[in-house]
């Protein structure tokens, strides 16, 4: 401390620095306390709990690696991993491609842009519970509007949320309906592609499709990567739609008493977070839930690192450039 002060000729400067530090600390204190209380502590505690047997009533009991070992013997754990993996692959692909497609169409509209954009975006603001019930009603196989319209063409509707092989596609349909936020992000990126690039491509004789493929896509690829990472995170966290679709599909939508119906039909909607919730807060097997949370943490941490690295690259490229 004295060494630092001695090195500085003006003592007033040192005081100003100390004051600056105090200001920063003043602005950051609530956030620091909040981060420690709601992220730092619980993260450490989750890992600690994961090595115990704990039912919330009796004191935690050290259990070594029992919880982790049990994962390999637990068929429902495997099922939950498979379901979430399904969403990570299918939902990520479908959501990114769908949002890109819709945004590309909107970007080419000359009139009615505002209206179409609003119609595409609005569903994403609906409460996820409401969005799920909307699809549950529209897709219901007996008398639902979708089945009725299919009936006009002599087609049978799938059973959607009552059929183990159609429940996940049904949830994916909901997720696409509420993907308006990603559409807006991609649309903004497409509209930001410098016009000169299109003109240059056009002079080279490229048609609209080739211009889209060779100019639009490469230019917006950072935003597409954001969309992919964002969708992966969404898929990893998928909870609300799965719980509501499962309990509505089972015909017993009771938030407190539907333990046996979570994952309906046939555990096809039992995503990893849903299973974690079931073990921890329905069966009060907190140790096992904490072990699952630790696994989920490791996975989402890896995904976050990908995103952060992409952002670092993005901001390095943007340095000195005009703000968006």
């Amino acid at each position: 401390m004295t060494a630092t002060l001695g090195a500085r000729p003006a003592p007033g400067r040192g005081r100003a620095r100390a004051r600056h530090r105090l200001t920063v600390l003043g602005f950051m204190t609530p956030a620091i306390i909040g981060f420690v209380l709601f992220f730092g502590y619980p993260l450490v505690a989750t890992v600690v709990f994961s090595f115990t047997k704990y039912d919330l009533i009796n004191a935690p009991e050290f259990a070594g690696l029992d919880n982790y070992a049990f994962m390999f013997k637990d068929p429902l754990f495997t099922k939950a991993i498979q379901n979430t993996l399904w969403f990570v692959v299918v939902l990520t692909f479908a959501r990114t491609v769908f949002a890109l497609g819709v945004a590309s169409v909107i970007a080419r509209l000359k009139s009615g842009v505002g209206l179409i954009r609003t119609l595409c975006y609005l569903p994403s603001l609906a409460p996820p519970v409401a969005a799920t019930l909307v699809f549950f009603m529209v897709l219901r196989p007996n008398g639902g509007p979708f089945a009725t319209v299919l009936g006009w063409f002599g087609l049978d509707s799938p059973l959607w949320f009552s059929d183990p092989s159609w429940a996940k596609p049904g949830i994916t349909a909901i997720m696409l309906w509420i993907s308006g936020d990603l559409m807006i992000i991609i649309l903004a990126a497409i509209l930001d592609v410098p016009q000169e690039q299109y003109e240059a491509a056009e002079l080279d004789g490229a048609g609209p499709i080739r211009r889209w493929w060779h100019v639009t896509l490469p230019t917006i690829s950072p935003v597409l990567l954001f969309g992919i990472v964002n969708s992966v995170i969404l898929a990893l966290q998928l909870f609300t739609q799965a719980v509501v679709a499962g309990s509505a599909g089972s015909g017993s939508a009771d938030s407190t008493g539907s333990t046996k119906y979570l994952g309906f039909p046939d555990n096809s909607t039992l995503t990893f977070p849903v299973y974690l919730y079931t073990q921890g807060f329905r069966y009060f097997d907190m140790g096992y839930a904490a072990a699952m949370a630790t696994v989920l943490f490791v996975i989402s941490f890896a995904v976050t690192i990908v995103l952060v690295q992409r952002m670092r690259k993005g901001s390095a490229a943007e340095e000195g450039g005009p703000g968006a």
Binding site: V24, I106, L122, L133, I184
Partner: protein, 297 residues
């Protein structure tokens, strides 16, 4: 997006490519095709809500049939659902959660975002990375110890565990506000400092007024996120019906409170109205805020 609008329109220098004659007919065809596609897309997004609305105004009997169009318009279904479930209680809980959380978020996040965007200090980059990490973390990861703590404080079954964190730390809001504040030129802050403003005064008098659109967008997102939240209320108030929010209650309607489709859809429709109203009044803030989360990562 605004940047696009200010970009110079197609230059005269590109005009010479006019001679390509077939462009006209093909241009019209492309125009028709894209606009037809756009219209279809718009309708595709709108029809589910349309069906919900049409079902909501059907009679009890008709709602069970496969009819798409109501024979009679039962507008009072929207009022009748208030007798079938304590919707006002749920509405009150939802508003308590959303409004208090948003207020708390503004108090805690604006100073933190300012420190991350406009002050220079060692550890700032690390702090920002931690904010991003917290933002990406699935809420289920930290649920076990948090529930354990709130439960030992005797606060499970109330809205406190949902609201309290916002008064200290909300990662997404800090992130979004910081992104907005970065776009305010540093020279404004420097000028305020030269004029003898303290950092606090610079924040309150210069940054906050200039960042109003960003603050509005962040508040909107915070309000909607809490309004739409399902996991939080389920975790902490699932067992205590008097504390249920609309989202949580809605999840139980089809089956528990309400068997008829028309009533279930009437409630579903009602819960979507706040978002629609907010959007109509603040469309620009939404679009701007959404864009900021992605493009300027």
């Amino acid at each position: 997006m605004t940047a696009t609008l200010t970009k110079p329109p197609v230059d005269v220098s590109t005009e010479p490519e006019q001679p390509k004659k077939p462009r006209d007919t093909r241009g019209i065809l492309t125009w028709v095709a894209t606009h037809a596609l756009g219209l279809v897309l718009g309708l595709m997004f709108a029809t589910p809500v349309l069906f919900v609305f049409l079902t909501a105004v059907m009679s009890d009997d008709q709602a069970f049939t496969s009819d798409l169009w109501p024979r009679e318009w039962h507008w009072n279904n929207f009022i009748g659902v208030f007798d079938k479930a304590p919707l006002f209680q749920y509405l009150f809980n939802s508003l308590t959660y959303s409004l208090l959380a948003t207020a708390g978020m503004l108090i805690s996040s604006i100073p933190a975002a300012y420190a991350l965007a406009k002050l220079k200090w060692r550890g700032r980059n690390v702090a920002f990375l931690l904010v991003i990490g917290a933002m990406m973390l699935p809420p289920q990861v930290v649920a076990v110890p948090l529930y354990d703590t709130w439960s030992s404080l005797g606060l499970t079954g109330t809205l406190v565990p949902l609201i309290a964190p916002y008064f200290l730390f909300d990662a997404f809001s800090i992130f979004l506000l910081r992104q907005f504040m970065l776009t305010i030129p540093q020279s404004y802050v420097d000028a305020a400092r030269v004029d003898g403003c303290s950092e606090f005064q610079a924040l309150v008098r210069i940054i906050v007024p200039m960042a109003k659109p960003g603050i509005a967008a962040t508040a909107l997102f915070c309000f909607l996120f809490t309004w739409n939240d399902y996991f939080g209320p389920l975790l902490y108030t699932g067992e205590v019906k008097e504390q249920w929010t609309l989202s949580l209650a809605l999840a139980t309607f089809k089956g528990m409170h309400i068997v008829q489709w028309n009533s279930a859809m009437a409630v579903t429709f009602l819960t979507m109205i706040p978002a629609i109203i907010l959007f109509i009044f603040a469309q620009k803030s939404f679009v701007k805020g959404i864009t900021f989360t992605g493009v300027k990562g």
